[in-house]
């Protein structure tokens, strides 16, 4: 389970939810990070996809992810798009999860690259997002 952090404000740019991605966002809201994994080649994809981009197999299954990884790259954005002006400057990063998945997300602290990080859930009033923070 991922740590859940309550945030008072709504998301600046809420993601759309489809019949397929609803599973991802519903699980995330409960502290579970999941993505799809190919039932043939066993490789993960992220974001979750209805087919396997690696081998084009049509059948995938939902699989849990640990949320543990390392910070590959990071920045702080000072010049922000309109919707993000109120929260600027804000940090974002690229994280390599232990399962061998790379993703981009919000970053809660200024950390050296290659630091171990853990993903957390940001529980906004209108729905969840995910972010990375230092371990321990």
């Amino acid at each position: 389970m991922l740590e859940i952090i309550d945030i008072a404000t709504p998301r600046a740019y809420p993601p759309r939810v489809s019949a397929f991605t609803r599973r991802f966002w519903s699980s995330l809201a409960e502290g579970r990070l999941e993505t799809t994994r190919c039932t043939a080649c066993q490789r993960f994809s992220f974001p979750p996809k209805q087919l396997c981009p690696h081998c084009w197999h049509r059948e995938v299954a939902w699989a849990p992810l640990s949320g543990n990884g390392r910070l590959y790259a990071a920045t702080a954005i000072h010049a922000a798009p309109l919707a993000f002006r109120a929260v600027a400057p804000y940090r974002v990063g690229i994280v390599d999860l232990d399962e061998g998945i790379r993703l981009a997300c919000a970053l809660l602290e200024n950390l050296p690259l290659d630091s171990p990080v853990r993903l957390v859930v940001l529980r906004h009033p209108d729905g969840p997002l995910f972010a990375a923070r230092s371990v321990g």
Binding site: A74, P81, R85, R102, L113
Partner: protein, 397 residues
């Protein structure tokens, strides 16, 4: 029959803020500026209006009110065409793909002379508003955009990784901006021409850490017309021209990042497209007299230079700081002033790069002329260099 495409004429608007606010009583109109440039470029080429058989436009920004711009221009110029009249879109690569569209009409025998042209007006829309749109072009709308990752934020993360892996520094990267401004000072169509020092660059406000205001592209408007022709036509004109020796293209099959971890700062698309282009031309990076690269931020110029084999891996920033990529250095890069100082009206930026190559290879670059420039390489890209289009160009005098 084997055909060869050449650039025989060119005209470009100085990059700057041309677009007026929507409520201004008098507007500057895209088609009026572009039509004038068409006449300039065609006069520069020395061909007749009736020789032109195709027009490939870079698509206008959504802020341009006139829609179906290509066919509107065909009417405005009263120019019937046997080849294609079309608008092309491909993010930052847009004008590179439009250039290819025009070139392909020549290669396929549909036209003997073709125009590659376009206008990018956007400066009347604020950066904060523009980014609401541009961040949707450089990321997954549902899984990346909600974090507010702007286009240049991806490059900033490249910079962070580069400094970390190669023991480089912000100052080394910033030296690229100083070099580009020095080049722009010699370029009459550059947006920013006042020379700056490393201290000036480092003193600017942060935009996306570790990149400050002078290390990212300014916003601006621009327009360019290039006249392309089959080599028989070019040869008959008795003027210097530019031969397109080869091209290479590669899309790595990823959008910004892949979920499969890779070496993000090794620009595999530029490396592959570059290798394809060099091999097709039977040359190597060491044969290049200059390079005019698509590099919105200082870090991108460093990474693209390394990927194209112009500078050793991990040494690009150091080499720039040491003056190797300056005019007079071992391999001058972005003699136009690059995207930071020449300017970056994104949908026509690769046209501006080709324009600079045409100026250099026809010996018309004035104070920024690379002596005896014979071979040059140029690139266009999209995303975080997820795709690259590379051309090797040659002077024929």
């Amino acid at each position: 029959m084997t055909r060869t495409v050449c650039i025989i004429g060119a005209a470009a608007l100085p990059v700057g803020k041309w677009q007026k606010p929507a409520d201004a009583p008098e507007q500057v109109l895209e088609h009026e500026l572009l039509a004038g440039l068409v006449l300039d470029a065609v006069a520069d080429a020395g061909v007749e209006r009736g020789d032109i058989g195709a027009m490939a436009f870079s698509q206008c920004r959504p802020y341009t009110l006139q829609k179906y711009f290509a066919t509107f221009m065909a009417h405005y110029l009263r120019l019937p065409c046997t080849g294609t009249v079309a608008e092309v879109l491909g993010n930052g690569m847009t004008a590179g793909l439009a250039f290819e569209q025009a070139a392909n009409d020549i290669l396929l025998g549909r036209a003997r002379v073709a125009l590659a042209l376009g206008v990018n007006f956007e400066s009347a829309t604020s950066a904060a508003e523009h980014m609401m749109s541009s961040m949707r072009a450089t990321g997954d709308v549902d899984f990346q955009v909600p974090f507010g990752i702007t286009p240049i934020a991806w490059y900033a993360m490249d910079a962070a990784r580069y400094i970390h892996e190669h023991a480089s520094s912000r100052a080394e990267l910033a030296s690229v901006a100083v070099k580009n401004r020095a080049h722009a000072a010699l370029n009459p169509i550059a947006q920013f021409r006042k020379p700056i020092t490393l201290e000036d660059v480092l003193a600017q406000p942060m935009i996306v850490e570790p990149l400050g205001l002078f290390e990212v592209p300014p916003r601006g408007d621009g327009a360019v017309v290039l006249v392309l022709a089959e080599e028989d036509v070019a040869r008959g004109l008795g003027r210097p021209y530019v031969r397109v020796r080869s091209r290479g293209f590669f899309h790595e099959g990823a959008h910004q990042i892949s979920e499969v971890p890779n070496d993000m700062i090794r620009l595999i698309s530029a490396e592959t497209a570059g290798r394809t282009a060099y091999e097709a031309a039977g040359v190597g990076p060491a044969d290049m007299d200059f390079a005019e690269l698509y590099a919105p931020c200082t870090i991108v110029e460093v990474l693209a230079s390394e990927a194209l084999g112009l500078l050793p891996r991990g040494q690009g920033a150091r080499a720039a700081a040491a003056g190797e990529t300056s005019l007079g250095g071992r391999i001058p890069i972005c003699t136009s002033g690059g995207l930071q100082s020449r300017g970056h009206p994104a949908y026509v930026t690769p046209f501006y790069s080709l324009f600079e190559c045409a100026e250099q290879l026809r010996g018309r670059a004035g104070a920024r002329q690379v002596p005896n420039a014979r071979l040059g390489v140029t690139s266009a890209e999209l995303g975080n260099y997820n795709a690259a289009l590379v051309h090797v160009l040659e002077a024929v005098r």
